[in-house]
Symmetry: C2
Subunit: 172 residues, 2 copies
Amino acid sequence: MKHTISALVENYSGVLSRISGLFSARGFNINSLTVGETEDPTVSRMTIVVDGDERTLEQVKKQLNKLIDVITVHDLTKTRFIDRELILIKVAVESPKDRCEIIEIAGNMKADVVDLGSQTITVEAAGDTPAIDKLVGSLRQFGIKEIVRTGKIAMSLDPMEKAQKTPKEEEE
Amino acid sequence: MKHTISALVENYSGVLSRISGLFSARGFNINSLTVGETEDPTVSRMTIVVDGDERTLEQVKKQLNKLIDVITVHDLTKTRFIDRELILIKVAVESPKDRCEIIEIAGNMKADVVDLGSQTITVEAAGDTPAIDKLVGSLRQFGIKEIVRTGKIAMSLDPMEKAQKTPKEEEE
């Protein structure tokens, strides 16, 4: 089963290595991982999507909580949450007809054209994974030159999930 | 100086730990890191933004290239490239007036409202870092409950940057 883990961590050199090492030591494969800034420059938020059984994941969560750099850890999988990712796709353009069609597909699928090259078009889109996969599927016919995807970020929408907030974020 | 590194890596358990360990051993602080899927399920693309001097970074790049899990490594900083990130922001709503104002700010700044709670509004936005920072700045007055940001993803727009493409992506 896929689990979406959200963790607040101290922004020190080495914390990422320790956390990812903890997952790999247990044989969990990380599907995606993002580390981004928060309002506090000393704190980062990690979103990790992993495949694994409930029991082993419970152990990993306990070990994460023991790490001194880890402030909070949550498995969002059982809460009401939203997840999103971002993609940049560079598509081959071989004719003016291709160009029009790619721009039209992008427009229909809420993607933005961010660069028009002589032989490529680069588009950007944000959405949930099925929407992003559908966009990639629609553009594949033209020839995909390059794809860069962020991993997923996720946020609990459950108002009871008070622990999601750090004291630092509440001060804002 | 900030460097934006784009690397294609084998999608094995442990590769992230080895790569992040390599940066932390040299004292580089990772500003942001994303690992996302590519068209090939056995290959992931990492985008890493790090602060550090040119010479030490050159050494890190060399060591990355030596890792068996690393397929290609590029420092995009000197090419023409685009970078983007994605943010989810949960904002406090204390009155109907707040609600209207937040929705208006989101609309003006190309952000989408993704959840309307009884006491919060959650918005999503994609853009370059200055645009995202500006949105956060505009919403701060209402009280920010939670922020989740992906790290940056980046793509070279230079048609000469042939090495950016892997043989696998060219087959598409």
